[in-house]
Amino acid sequence: MQSLLPLIPFLPFAGFLINGLFGRRLPKTAVGLIGSGTILGAFLLSLAVFSDVRNGTAMEQTLYTFLHVDSLQVQFAFLADPLSAWMMLIITGVGFLIHVYSIGYMHDDEGFWKFFAYLNLFVFSMLLLVMGDNFLMLFFGWEGVGLCSYLLIGFWYENRAYGHAARKAFIMNRIGDLGLLLGIFLIFNTFGSLQYREVFEGVANYQNNAWIPTVICLLLFVGAIGKSAQIPLYTWLPDAMAGPTPVSALIHAATMVTAGIYLVARCSSLYALAPHALEVIAITGLATAIFAALIGLRQNDIKKVLAYSTVSQLGLMFLALGMGAYSTAIFHVTTHAFFKALLFLGAGSVIHALGGEQDIRNMGGLRKALPVTFWVFVIGTLAISGFPLLSGFFSKDEIFAKTYEHSGALWWALAAISGLITATYMGRLLFVTFFGEFRGTEAQRAHLHESPAVMTIPLIVLAVLSVVGGFLNTPHFLHLGGSEWLSHYLAPALARPATPETHVLDARTEWLLMGITTVLALLVLVLAYAVYVVRRNVPVADSAMQPIARLLANKFYVDEAYDFLFVRPLEKLSKMLHYYADIQAIDGVVNGVGRASQLLGAQFRKLQNGNIEYYLLAMVVGAALLVGSLFI
């Protein structure tokens, strides 16, 4: 199995090459088959790897030496331990479903082959990210997925706004990447290696000298902020919805944006030494969770709502990481991948049926026309809102419980509030979209249709996963059998939780906490039903909004603030430096030297006035002076 490890990323890479080079000439069926087939192959291989490492072992496979300068030696090598095997399963599994879905969704697009090539390249990069056995390999994947994200957001490049969104995503990611890169430098300087094993073995020497690990952890976290769209670098993710919907599902919900979580979890033994860094992560995560959820309340673009929801859920995952509950975060990554991919693909199905319409104010009453989509969307909504026994219920509850356990009631309350807001906007989204009267145009009404099977089957599979996914890691006090399976599985790859075992909450408190959040979430859903279905409220037009609603709808004007604070000054600085510093000052000096010598010449040449008498006089005077100098 070990020798087949490199095949897992290179299968999608082969798909990328074939589709990229020859896709234009291949029939669409072949392109789709190659695209999804390679991912399926990778998934099956990942399953085999998973079964090998299930007992906590790890396997490595080195391909060649990538870089070797002095003591810096980096191998192009792969590592599969429980953590990366789990991520591989998510990436290839969800990735495969989304590939299949895309065959239907992108069928009429002329860039069909290009789409699959990019998607395969993305899976390749993502697999590099999680399978690399050193920080540089991680960085390859890290930037690679950013690049694919750029390519896919800008997929419909004729639209300038989309191209702009793509650029924004890449650049904001790069800001984070710089942090990550500096963190990698510091890791190398400190530990003398970039290989995970060697670094994490070296960590023990810094038990009593925490500030270097803290700085490293903070730098790495800057990278995670960029990739996982946390405050302050989150604004690219909602804009990234410009890409085709399967892309939003795969890259901007299920996999790529969770790379930051993976990074922190991977470096958990470093973070274990840096409690202050964990605090920063927790605060950032919680703030993002609430902030993004609030914005989600007043968005009217079906994908934007889901995008802010993603940002908010990522915040929750970081909260879990900040609590030292690494496996909980990975658990939520897993369930989130299921239900968020489901929601996005469901939204895609809606958009597909409406011929590109994304504004929920122009939808309504779609449950009859799109029954399958409706039901899977209901499941997704319930899962994310924390409906009992669905996947989101378990993973979210675990996050809340760990928060309470680690930081107390206030933190728990804030986290729970973000969960309530989530239920609110998801309820609003569901009811406004699928209930009530159809509010679109007549042409759209005539066009309404359920998506083809190639799209609905992945939806159904994801719906099933969203329902049962929670049982991967049921809390022990529920006695549902196989309790905390995922935590035990992941344990060998993660550092022990920061909280000592003795602190574990008693079952009664856990029941109480779970009860409160669940009941409140259900209440909120019912309330949303009352407001949007019974009273038939429809979100108002932009111009009729109340001040607070407008503030939310305009995303707290963060984009405008960034534009004012960073983009414009940079552009202005660029122009000013070019004109004043470069042309006027520096080049002015250079030209000044030239001009000075010219001026000097202009003065001296006046001696050459052409009049022979002057020359003669000068000659005589010169001769006289020469002779005279003999006598001095």
């Binding site: 040449r605 006046k606 050459q608 006035n609 052409g610 009049n611 022979i612 008498e613 003669l616 006089l617 005589v620």
Partner: protein, 106 residues
């Protein structure tokens, strides 16, 4: 012959030729008529010739007088070329004023 010449002190020859040379220099510097400038140049040359001849006689060395012949040949050639140029200048400018000839400036 030698005796007669030697009755005149060598100093007098030096004074005379210096005077002649000075007149030549002043003439070259101050006069604007090209013909006069040329003549002044001749004057300077001849002042030197005089001095050379005088010293040659006093020292009994013929080399100085050989030099004089060279100078006379050169002076003759110079006068020929110079006057030729002068004629051309006159044809072009209808004048022999050298201060008009300042085209070779800057």
């Amino acid at each position: 012959m030698l005796d007669i010449i030697q009755t005149v002190p060598i100093d007098y020859f030096v004074y005379l030729s210096t005077l002649l040379f000075g007149i030549g220099v002043l003439g070259v510097l101050t006069r604007r008529n090209a013909i006069i400038v040329l003549m002044c140049v001749e004057l300077m040359l001849n002042a030197v010739n005089l001095l050379l001849a005088a010293f040659s006689t006093y020292l009994g060395d013929a080399q100085g007088q050989i030099m004089v012949f060279f100078i006379m040949v050169v002076a003759a050639a110079e006068a020929a070329v110079g006057l030729g140029i002068l004629v051309m200048i006159y044809r072009n400018t209808k004048s022999t004023d050298i201060s008009l000839l300042d085209n070779l400036k800057y």
